[in-house]
Subunit: 208 residues, 2 copies
């Protein structure tokens, strides 16, 4: 079964099963954790856990936070493609989300992105904020005292704080529960683009 | 703190904290699920959940199972590098395991690999075995009846069944519990190779 989503909706059709999964797994805080794969400058894959921070404004772009000192920054500068793998343990379903990353840094000049970065900084916990004042990640271990810096300004994000956006072009949703299992592919059509809120998606039920 | 592991041990030093994590999270069946990132033929990253099936014989290679009809097969033929991201929800720790994949298929001529493939087939559940007799993955959805094929031979693996091995060269272990968090890097030294059971690893405590 292949069908086109209604072109008048700005919400991509994979958002509905994803919202349903988030709701049904909401009792488990780690249900907002997913694994983000990127490609290193030496062309090997990199894979790490990130925390889903909601969608950017009225788009279908996932938001994460990132430290400008992490290796992701260099990787994204060279290759924006990324695939997130999001497994929900309670409902036993997986979303694979392929797309392109945008890193919003302190020097971003686009007002809406810069504002979103600031708002996200203000919304995260004190302990999450503190990590951006910690010593250089992956440098030889600093003394414990270096991990108790003064609390950073809760209003103005430090230069190390980045907003990371993932704009999705393909989604592969696999539900392991059910006999037989179900699997659905979502593909954004080429006519869609970031400036067009009326994205068109092709939705296809496939074999698991 | 940087130190060399004892060269006389065949067990890599990251195996100890990993075994500890598996033990402490053993009440949760999904603690054996991890996310494996590879690179697609179009150079975008791919990322999916796989199930840890133990270590291959007396090596430090992780075992997974794979369907020869899945896209992983083509990806591995072109690029063997992969990174597994393994997050343990109960103990809040992450292992990033970078290495090279080996796909052991029905036509593998190495006896020890071929035997391991057969043994793994015999050890998995009936329902796991049945999936290798299901219709072509990702093809347009087949009727439900196609997902109830006759049970495959439990002794002899079908041609679709593959053993997937991940030989590790780098590990990044991050423990989020603890104040401050701890992070440790393990790197296999170039002098080590698969035929030498006495792998040498460099272990370095770094900033989280």
């Amino acid at each position: 079964m292949t069908s086109l989503s209604t072109p008048s909706t700005a919400i991509a059709p994979w958002r509905s099963p994803l919202a349903h999964a988030l709701h049904r797994n909401r009792s488990l805080p780690f249900s907002r954790y997913l694994q983000l794969a990127t490609i290193r400058c030496d062309h090997t894959p990199a894979n790490r856990t990130v925390v889903f921070r909601g969608f950017f404004a009225k788009t279908n772009q996932l938001m994460f936070i990132s430290d400008s000192r992490s290796e992701k920054t260099d990787q994204i500068a060279q290759q924006v493609a990324a695939e997130a793998c999001w497994y929900f343990t309670k409902t036993r379903e997986q979303f694979r989300l392929l797309g392109d990353l945008t890193l919003v840094t302190a020097s971003s000049e686009q007002t809406n992105l810069s504002d979103a970065r600031t708002q996200l900084w203000q919304s995260i916990s004190d302990s999450a904020r503190l990590q951006f004042a910690w010593p250089q990640p992956k440098a030889p271990r600093s003394p414990d005292s270096a991990f108790s810096p003064p609390a950073p300004d809760a209003q103005i994000p430090p230069s190390t704080f980045c907003l990371l956006l993932l704009a999705i072009s393909k989604v592969d949703h696999l539900a392991l529960r059910g006999d037989p299992q179900s699997r659905c592919l979502y593909e954004k059509l080429a006519s869609s683009n970031a400036s067009n809120p009326h994205e068109q998606w092709q939705v296809t039920a496939v074999n698991p």
